[in-house]
Subunit: 202 residues, 2 copies
């Protein structure tokens, strides 16, 4: 019934959804499993949501999958303004945090006030990595690329000359905090890969 | 704790997640908002989940957003084997339905039995378009491209020489069943577009 529609709210939401389309053009340092091209942040977000759903029973107690899925759905939208900071790249984290906060305010700010504020809060919860939901979401975000790299010949580990010790820090710590069983499963496979490919990586 | 992990289940799930990566290479008939390239089904799935979340209040009563998000997360995975059937293309729907059912069985069948069965059931619910959740999910799936085409100069309407009467059938019917307020908002804009661009379309 047209008379019950808040036309302004719908118009603002659609402006946000159209702006969000740009996430499909944000290129990441990681590649598709078949090595054909770099992955973009929109399809990456889809893929890690699938990981979260399928690996739900690996989450700690008190994790609500529905909140995790929403977190992962929006977690990279700030990259439209701030760009992607590759996990193995050299990044000034303080500068990046300021850029991302501004990006969150501009992008989620396209939405009607209360809706935008609630997505900013959800994004900040993800970034802070303190709640159970955020810890699982962060673990899932970190675990997708290693799983891909195991099948695509090393991928971004080769580009960035990453060592197993660096993976233990950058992937092992967050994944064992949020999804310890996945790390216990993954770690021996990483060890084998690095043993078998000493020349590829750092 | 490694001793509590069902290693076989994790290995099967990860095989499914790696296979699902191929959705990033399934090209659709629709283009990005900036017209730079065709959209793929993985990033499309991400984008329509964002639409569903932001347009949640346009859903009918009895719709559970969390189930809708899961439906949209998996709704296109069958395309890895069956390909994308463009909404405005010429498609033998009976042949396509058989292909998609086989695809669902192979792809979701990579998962542990009970998990795979539950995703096949969710996908079938989406396809059947009878429950409230499926009707909203279908409406959202249909509404993203028209919203993009309004800003990208017509997109797939031009390629397929689509008329407003055809959009009323192919988009208007499902969108007004699942998200009537969105259709009431969109229809006048489509009318203006087709009035202003008589030469572009069918
Ligand atoms: Ca589709």
């Amino acid at each position: 019934n047209p008379s019950t529609i808040d036309v302004t709210a719908l118009t603002d939401r659609l402006a946000f959804l159209n702006e969000a389309d740009q996430l499909k053009r944000i290129e990441r340092a990681s590649r598709l499993n078949d090595n054909s091209r770099f992955e973009n942040s929109a399809e990456h977000s889809w893929h890690i949501m699938l990981h979260a759903m399928v690996l739900e029973d690996q989450a700690g107690s008190g994790v609500t999958l529905d909140r995790v899925l929403k977190m992962l759905l929006i977690h990279d939208i700030v990259e439209i303004d701030a760009g992607d900071a590759p996990i193995h790249g050299v990044v000034d984290h303080a500068v990046m945090a300021v850029k991302e906060q501004k990006a969150a305010e501009r992008l989620f700010g396209l939405l009607p006030d209360r809706e935008g504020q609630s997505l900013i809060a959800l994004w900040q919860e993800f970034e802070a990595a303190e709640t159970s939901d955020a810890l699982f979401a962060k673990a899932i975000d970190r675990v997708q690329v290693p799983i891909s790299n195991l099948v695509n010949g090393g991928g971004s580990w080769v580009t960035y000359q990453v060592s197993l010790a660096q993976l233990d820090q950058r992937v092992g710590i967050p994944v064992s905090r949020g999804a310890p069983g996945v790390w216990a499963w993954l770690r021996p496979q990483l060890e084998s890969f690095f043993r078998e490919h000493p020349a590829l990586t750092g």
